[in-house]
Amino acid sequence: MIGKVFQKLPLWAAMVFLAIALVYPLATLAAASLELGSGSFGIDNFVAFFQTPSLFKIFSNSLVLGAVVTAVTTGLAFFPSYAAARTRAFSRGAIYVLCLLPLFAPSFFPSLGLIILLGPQGPWGGLIPGGLIGPWGIVMGEVIYTLPHAVIILTACLRDIDPKLYAAARSLGAGPWRCLLTITLPAAFHGFISSAMVVFLLTITDFGVPKVLGGSYSVLATEVYKQVIGQHNLSMGATISLVMLLPALAAFGMDYLARKRRRHGWAAWAEPAIARKQDLFFTLAGWAVAALPLAVMATAVWSSFISFWPYDLTFTMLNYSFNDSIYGLSPIFNSLKLAMAVSLCGTCLIFTSAYVLERQTVPRLISRAYRLLAIMPMCIPGAALGLAYILAFNHLDGLPDWFYGSMLILVLNSIVHFYSLPHLTSSASLSGLDPNYENVGRTLGRPIWTTFLKVVLPMRIATVLEAAFYLFVSAMTTVSAVVFIYTPDMIPASVASLQASDAGQVAEAAAMGTLIMAASLILRCLIKIWRNIFLPEYENR
C-alpha cells in the first residue's frame, strides 16, 4: 500500500506544486480584481474598465492587432510549411529551420532589427506611413515573433496527410495545383484554425514587442505593467490582466476544439512527387517568407557589433561590455542559472508526473483535475501570472523574507508559465508506448521503476530532451511574467535587454539578445550532436 502511494509520488508532488504556484496566486489575483479598497468587494473595477473610453480603446487595440497579426502570420506561414512538408522545393529544410529562428530569442529581439531597418533613422524609415513606432510596428514585430509557432503547427499538420490520397488523386488525373486545392487545403483546415488561435493567443499576451515598438500606442499587456509599476494601481492591473484572459480563453477553447476534431493520420510520410512548376513557386515563396526573420534577426545581431549606428558603422565588441548598464554582464549569468534550474526541475517534475498519469492507474477524478491544471498555464497571460505572484507572495505572512526577491520565485514562476507544452508532449509520447511494458516487467518479477528506467526512459529520451530544451529556451527568453517579479540583483537577461532598449541603448539591447540567442543555439547544437553520436539503433524504427 505504501509502495503504491510512493509510486504515484511525482503526480502528488506536481498537484501540490500547481496548487501553490498556480491556483493560489491566480485566486489572489481574482480577489484583488474584485477589491474596491477599504475591505469591500464588487465587480466595479470591471465596470469601470469597460466604461472608461481610454481603457476600452486599449482592449479593442489588442483585439484588432491580434486579428490582423493572426491573419497575416497564418497566411505567410502556409508557404514555408507547404514547401517543407509537401513539395520537393529546393532547400526546403533550410526554409523550415530559418522560419524557426525567432524561437531562440526574446519576442522583441526581431523588433530591434526592425528599428534598425525601418525605424526613423533607418535606411527605409520613410516606407511606413505614420512611422514604424505604433500599430504598424507592433504588427510587423508580432508577425515575425509568432511565425515559428504557426509554421511548426502547419507543417506537422501537412505532413500528417495520407500520401495515398495524392497518389489516388493523381491516378484520377489531378495535377499538383488541383491536389493542393482539393486535398491539402481541406485536410489542413484544423491546422489553420489551431495555428491561428495560437498566434492570436501569443499576440495579445505578448509584452516585449509592444513595449519596444508600441510607443504611445497601448495594448493590454503593456497597460497592466503601466497600471502596476507606473501608477501602483494593483487592483486595476489585476482587472485588466483578467480581462486579457477573456480573448485568451476564447482562443484556447477554439484551439482545443480544433485539436479534438483533428483526425490523426497514421500513414507514414512519403516523399512528395515531383511537380516542377509548383516546386519552383514554393521555393521562391518559402524563401521570401523565411527571409523575413533571417533579415531582421541578422540585422539585430549585426547592430550589436556596430559602434554607433547610424553614424559610425565600424566593428566593435564594446557593446558586449555593457558599460551603459548598471548590471553589466551579470544578467546573462542570472538567466543561465534560471534557465538551467527551470529546465532541470521542470523536466523532472513534468515528465515523471506525466508518466504516472499515463501509465499507472489513477482515479479518473484526479487525472482529470491534473490534466486541467496542467494545460491552464497555456491560456494565462504572462502579465496576469506575474502580477498574481506579486500579490500572492510579496509580504505574505509567514513566508521568509528572502523568498520574494530570490531566484526561487522566478524559477517557480517560469516552470508554471511554461508547464503546458512539455506536459502535453510528454503525456502524448508516453501514452504512445505499448501499454503493457510495465505489466510484462511485473509478471517477470521486475518492479515498475525498473521498467521505467530500463525501457520507458530510454525509449522517450528524445521527448525528455525536447522538454528540457523548450523549458531552457523559454526561461532564457521570457519577459511578460518575470518583468513583474525580478529584483535588481537577479535581473534576467531578457528583461535587461528590454530595459536597455527602453533607455534607447538599442545596441546593448541587441547585444544582450544576441547572447541569449547564442546560448539557446549552442544548447540546440549540443543536443543535436549528442543525439547524432548516441542515436540508438532502435530509434530508426
Binding site: 505499448d434 503493457n436 511494458y437 505489466n439 517477470l444 518479477g445 525501457v455 525509449m459 532502435y538
Partner: protein, 341 residues
C-alpha cells in the same frame, strides 16, 4: 494434482458509461492440473483476457479466490506470482536486443551475470532464435518476435505460462508452424500453460483441455475430442466446428437437429439412393473449393431449407455442378438432438 491451480467463483464487472455494468466474469470456477495445456476458447468479449489479467495479478477480481498449490494467491502482487504473461502485442522492449529482452526477468538474488547469460542462451536455443541474439525487435519477423516474447516469458522458470492470443497477429502458415512449436516447447519444459484464443482450430489442435466460455461463464470444459464430438449445447456445437440446424417434417420425426457439414452425405439421385429413408432431394446452389474438400450449398426441395455440406475432392464431379440435383442424407448417428440440449 487437481489442486495445482484452482479458480473459485471469480467475478469481475466493468463500469461502462453507455451500457452500465459490463460483466466480464461470472462465477468462474475451474481446476487446472500441473503440466496441462489448457485453452480458453470463446468469442471476443467473452471475458477471456480479463481472466488472464486476474491470474497474472494485474487486475483484482471483484469476488472469488485463486488457489495455487493450495495457497490462496488472490491478493499476491504480480511480481511475486511467477506467472509469465505473453501479450497479444508481445510488448517486446524495442530498446533491448533479443538477448536482453529474454534476460529481462532474470534479475534479483539467485542470478549473476553468467547464470543470466546461460539461461538466456538456453532459451534462444529452445525457441530456435540462434543468430538473432543481437537484433532489435523491429528487425525481426512477426514469428521471430513471437518466439522472443515466449522465450522472455519462459526464462525465469515461471510456475504458470499465460498466453493471450499469441498467434493471432501472424499469417496462416507461420501460425500453424508456431502453434506446433509452442506445443512442443510446452511438452519439453512441462510448464503448465493457459492459452487464450478465439480460434477453435488452434484450441483443438494444441490443448489437452478446452474451456469454452461465453459472457464470463464456462459453457463446456473437456478434452478437444469431447468438445467436438459431444457438444453439450447449441453454443458449443456452433462455435466449435460448423453445423447445420435442420427441421424437416420427414426427417428425425420432425424434430430440430444439428448436423456437421462434413457429416451430411451427398449422393447422386438413383432409385437406390432415393429409396433410402429420411433423404431429401436438393439443388446445388453454390460450390466452393475449400482446399482439401468442396463446400456445397444445397437448397432442399421444401424450397426454404438451405444446408451446407463438405464433400471430398474425390467425389463424383456430377455432384459439384451448380444446378445439379442431388440427394442429401442425414446419418442418424451424427445427429445432435438440439431440443434436448
Amino acid at each position: 494434482m487437481d489442486n495445482f491451480l484452482s479458480l473459485r467463483g471469480l467475478c469481475k464487472a466493468y463500469d461502462d458509461s453507455k451500457k452500465g455494468k459490463l460483466i466480464a466474469l461470472d462465477e468462474f470456477s475451474i481446476n487446472i492440473a500441473e503440466g496441462c495445456f489448457a485453452a480458453l476458447l470463446g468469442p471476443s468479449g467473452s471475458g477471456k483476457s480479463t481472466l488472464l489479467e486476474i491470474l497474472a495479478g494485474l487486475t483484482p477480481p471483484d469476488e472469488g479466490r485463486i488457489f495455487f498449490q493450495n495457497r490462496d494467491i488472490t491478493c499476491l502482487a504480480p511480481e511475486q506470482r511467477k506467472f509469465s504473461l505473453v501479450f497479444q502485442s508481445y510488448a517486446l522492449f524495442p530498446n533491448l536486443t533479443v538477448l536482453d529482452n529474454i534476460a529481462y526477468g532474470l534479475g534479483g538474488p539467485g542470478w549473476n551475470k553468467t547464470s543470466r547469460m546461460n539461461r538466456a542462451l538456453e532459451l534462444v536455443a529452445v525457441t530456435s532464435l540462434e543468430g538473432l541474439e543481437h537484433r532489435y525487435p523491429h528487425e525481426l519477423s512477426g514469428g521471430q518476435q513471437q518466439r522472443t516474447a515466449l522465450a522472455r516469458a519462459l526464462a525465469p522458470h515461471p510456475r504458470l505460462l499465460l498466453l493471450d492470443e499469441p498467434l493471432s497477429a501472424l499469417d496462416a502458415q507461420v501460425r500453424r508452424e508456431l502453434g506446433l512449436k509452442l506445443r512442443h516447447i510446452q511438452r519439453e519444459t512441462g510448464v503448465t500453460t493457459l492459452l487464450v484464443t478465439h480460434d477453435q482450430e488452434e484450441a483443438l489442435a494444441l490443448s489437452d483441455l478446452v474451456i469454452l466460455m461465453e459472457q464470463g461463464k464456462i459453457i463446456q470444459a473437456g478434452s478437444p475430442e469431447e468438445i467436438y464430438s459431444r457438444p453439450n449445447s447449441r453454443f458449443s456445437a456452433d462455435f466449435v466446428g460448423h453445423m447445420n440446424t435442420i427441421e424437416l417434417p420427414a426427417v428425425n420425426s420432425g424434430r430440430l437437429f444439428g448436423l456437421r457439414y462434413e457429416d451430411v452425405e451427398i449422393l447422386i439421385p438413383t432409385e437406390q439412393t432415393l429409396a433410402r429413408p429420411e433423404v431429401q432431394v436438393g439443388r446445388v446452389e453454390h460450390c466452393a473449393l475449400m482446399g482439401a474438400f468442396y463446400r456445397l450449398e444445397i437448397l432442399l426441395n421444401d424450397f426454404s431449407t438451405s444446408i451446407q455440406a463438405d464433400v471430398a475432392r474425390s467425389a463424383d464431379k456430377e455432384l459439384l455442378k451448380v444446378g445439379a440435383i442431388v440427394v442429401a442424407a442425414f446419418p442418424s448417428e451424427h445427429r445432435l438432438q438440439l431440443n434436448e440440449l
